[in-house]
Amino acid sequence: MRTRGNIFSNIDWVIVILYFAMVLTGWVNIYAAVYNEEHHSIFDITQRYGKQLVWIAASVLIILLIFFTDTKVFSTFAYFFYAVMVLILISVLLFGKEVAGSRSWFQIGNLGIQPAEFAKFATALALAKYLSTFNISLSKRRAIIISVFIILIPAGLILLQNDTGSALVFLSFILVLYREGLSGTFLITGLSVAILFVLSLLFDQMYVVIFLSGFAIMALFFIRRSFKNIARVLGILVLASAIVLSVDYAFNNFLGPHQQKRISVLIGVDPDIRGAGYNVHQSKIAIGSGGFWGKGFLEGTQTKYDFVPEQDTDFIFCTMGEEFGFIGSLLVIGLFTGLFLRIIKLAERQKSSFARIYGYGVLSVLLFHFMVNIGMTIGLTPVIGIPLPFFSYGGSSLWAFTILLFIFIRLDAHRAQLL
């Protein structure tokens, strides 16, 4: 067994420093977002910034706990954690507390716990465990199906809780599968369908079909014109056209006006600044008004006076953008990019494939949250209510992300011991 001193000497301090930089920057923004003159003590736990300080302190305890846990526990009990998590997700469906239409909370005393947040690390562990098993290869259909099941079981349960945002996060594990050998065709096909979906809503379906036909004719010039290839191109064209036509048909016939509106706003056909587009519109105003240097700490008017909804949770990035301007945005993007690249570097240096795969699991989850959360505040991605890791207010999400990341740091610290 290793001594205490050795554990700390093997820890990757770069990633730990990035973590604390993000958590503290996040706290500063929460303070600014909920700041009011009556309560200015930062330790006032009736206020959200006071509570967040408590969550941060608790996170430090969790980190220490993880550091003193034997690494074998994570791989050995990976399926156990996963099974427990699935049971908790089922029970929250049965006994959970309903908040704003989602049955996704457990109330323990004063503390609300959102199990969906913790399902992410459990799923990452289980996936890593499965894919690192000897003789499993993602070139085999059976392995793919089992992997997809590992991902979809918790995702489905969370979807049943009416928490679409958190459920979508599980789609990000496709990145792990890709890294571990899933054919790129899956990614490209998925992406193409998504693009076709948006195109057919943006433009008249006839134009899209004409465009696709032109694209197919061009493709025919560049490929070897064997019968097989020509048939393949034409087959793809017919399939793509069918998707375009059916999307349009489904949009107009199966969706209610409310859903149609949400989708229109989402892809930017309809700005609808009073209804579904209100959040994004106000969020862009807040960020855009920040300018290059920002308005200064506690000087942001849009966030301080509540023009941006959910400004301390899902829209926390607005506070950053308004009060610290483009420099602040650069800092946040920089911190996240640094974290992601560091995770890749660490993952790739793992000798154990379990640790590597888990590392990519961590990356996938964080990257998805980052992309969607910041993307929605600047109008690039649809408004999906998921928090910005380490920044957004909330105990459950902070603890879950901390556990997710620090299990990986713990695994990385252990790598030197492996032969």
Partner: protein, 608 residues
């Protein structure tokens, strides 16, 4: 592990993807934050509320510092629909004294305007209602008051002169950017003429508000706020007690009284009848009442004193005499017969000795005499062959007395009357195809010429001054930055020299003073006053009764013109009213109560 195929090169694809995302987001953020100003403006629109601070409008006083117009606080009830929560609407409606339907209509209107911004729910609530409402307002979140001021007229007089204020229209705003929707502006009378002095300057304050439009404090510690500057007070030339007396005398009569102080041109009284209570055109009831007044067949909104045009009638004979004297075709001793060939074609309507000299002719208002005077002006040597030139000379004399033009001082809605140009007669009769005989009606103040009561009063003032006048006006003084500014008006001379007025004034004194004068019965014991009656032929009905006068003869303090429509002879109605006005103004009291009683009890309001 070794048995597995390694896909480690895929880390480059993933790294590339991350960098692409980071780069895309940074570019997007840069575009949003750095070159783009529109979001900064939107942010300001979100949080800054520009609140207008309305100054109190200047007060209006009469020449003796009697308060004529002041401000009364009134309140607009505003609503922010988003802040309204459930409440007892029927109680609310009963408090406001509106119906449930009216409540729904107004609330829907506010909702259509904005959920988060205030809309006026009920405007101009009197301070009595306000006091009671305010105590109960806490039961109705989302509703609050904003104070405005209303004009109040304590003496209920001179509605036309004082005018009224109303909300600015599109025209006002496009002409003067100072005004915003909902501001008040003087729409007529003194309120309109001295809008710029009375209105003061609006102030503004910028407040920071949150998403629910709740005030969060002032912007930049009020650095950009401006304090409203109260409007300046205006003192007008009117004598309120004389005005009130005049309005009382004119009750149940159609017509007007204009009284001027000859030495200054100050308008002491300007009565038009029928009139209305100025308080009717204030506040919420304004448009309703205005509509009603507009439809009234007696036309109370028309200012007869400045807009009514009449033939001057016999009073105009004086002017022809003055022109004759000035042109040296008439002397005080000149005699004409009022029968026989000289009098053709105008016969005399009065019975008196003949022939008469000028003084007697004025006293008896002898038509043939003035026809002869008129003819002699046109038949002067040198003019005989050119009627057009002769007429123009005559016309220039007439207009030098203020006729046929506007004074353009501060009198609302002035009409200029009509003193036709020679070319008009050329057009009617053909060039040089007309003679003094053709236009003979002008000799006795009939025919094409039209004058306003205001011009006649000014004429009377010229007579009192023996030849000059100050353009009649209302402004006496106003305070600007604490200093009194006195209005200055230039002296205007008529074309007739003072000496030529002597005989005319003597004659006008005889009109009242002599036992044979046409208005002897309205004399005032102990006061020499001069006047001239007029009975104005009215093609549409009974003649108008007219009288011009000034007093005292030695040092005139008041000159006036009275017209009572469809009342017959000048001496019967206009003269006693003028006489009472003079007595009231000079002695401050009425001794001849029998005369006053007769006027007050008469109803001469005939529908034609």
């Amino acid at each position: 592990m070794a048995s597995k195929k390694s896909y480690h090169t895929r880390k480059y694809v993933i790294t590339g993807f991350i960098i692409l995302i980071a780069f895309t987001y940074l570019v997007r953020l840069f575009i949003l934050q750095v070159p783009n100003n529109s979001y900064k403006l939107s942010a300001q629109n979100n949080v800054l509320r520009h609140i207008t601070l309305y100054p109190s409008r200047g007060l209006i006083y009469d020449r003796n510092n009697t308060l004529l117009v002041y401000n009364e606080a009134a309140y607009d009830l505003l609503v922010i629909p988003a802040q309204v929560s459930k409440f007892d609407t029927s109680y609310f409606c009963s408090l406001l004294r509106i119906s449930q339907e009216a409540f729904n209509r107004r609330f829907q209107k506010a909702l259509r305007h904005s959920r988060y911004r205030p809309s006026i729910f009920l405007e101009q609530i009197s301070k009595e209602d306000f006091a009671y409402l305010e105590e109960n307002l806490f039961k109705f979140p989302g509703f609050y008051f904003q104070s405005r001021t209303l004009r109040e007229y304590p003496l209920e007089l001179a509605a036309h002169t004082l005018g009224f204020i109303g909300e600015v229209d599109h025209n006002n705003i496009s002409k003067e950017p100072y005004y915003d929707q909902g501001d008040y502006i003087g729409k007529s009378g003194i309120e309109k003429s001295y809008e710029h002095i009375l209105r003061g300057r609006k102030g503004s304050t910028i407040k920071i508000v949150d998403v629910f439009n709740r005030e969060q404090g002032s912007f930049e510690d009020g650095h950009f706020d401006t304090i409203p500057l109260p409007g300046s007070n205006v003192t007008i030339t009117m004598d309120a007690s004389l005005q009130a007396y005049g309005e009382m005398l004119m009750e149940n009569k159609k017509g007007s009284i204009v009284a001027i102080e000859p030495s200054s041109g100050d308008i002491l009284t300007l009565v038009t009848s029928p009139s209305y209570d100025p308080n009717l055109l204030v506040g919420r009831v304004r448009s309703h009442n205005y509509e009603k007044l507009l439809k009234d067949s007696l036309r109370p909104l028309m200012n007869r004193a400045t807009m009514g045009t009449y033939s001057p009638g016999s009073t105009f004979k004086i002017l022809n005499a003055l022109i004759g004297l000035q042109e040296s075709v008439l002397y005080p001793e000149t005699q004409y017969h009022c029968s026989g060939p000289e009098s053709r074609p105008i016969r005399c309507t009065h019975y008196h000795q003949t022939p008469l000299q000028l003084k007697g002719a004025i006293m008896h208002s002898c038509n043939p005499y003035f026809w002869n005077v008129f003819r002699s002006i046109f038949n002067q040597p040198g003019f005989q062959d050119n009627i057009s030139n002769a007429y123009t000379v005559w016309r220039d004399h007439v207009t030098s007395f203020g006729f046929g033009k506007k004074f353009e001082t501060d009198i609302p809605f002035e009409m200029k009357g009509n003193i036709p140009l020679a070319s008009v007669y050329d057009r009617i009769y053909g060039k040089e195809r007309w003679t003094a005989l053709t236009i003979r009606s002008l000799a006795i103040g009939q025919g094409e010429i039209l004058v306003t009561p205001l011009q006649m009063a000014n004429f009377s003032a010229i007579l009192a001054n023996r030849g000059y006048y100050y353009p009649p006006h209302f402004l006496k003084e106003y305070t600007l930055d604490g200093n009194k500014v006195e209005a200055q008006y230039g002296k205007q001379y008529s074309s007739v020299i003072p000496e030529n007025f002597d005989v005319i004034i003597e004659a006008m004194q005889d009109v009242i003073g002599s036992e044979h004068g046409t208005a002897h019965w309205v004399r005032i014991p102990g006061l020499t006053f001069c006047g001239k009656t007029g009975t104005v032929e009215n093609p549409h009905g009974k003649d108008h009764s007219m009288f011009i006068a000034f007093a005292p003869k030695e040092d005139p303090a008041i000159a006036l013109c009275v017209i009572v429509e469809n009342a017959g002879y000048g001496s019967t109605w206009a003269a006693p009213i003028a006489s009472l006005m003079i007595e009231k103004y000079i002695t401050g009291d009425i001794n001849r109560t029998w005369m006053e009683q007769r006027i007050l009890e008469s109803n001469l309001m005939h529908d034609q």
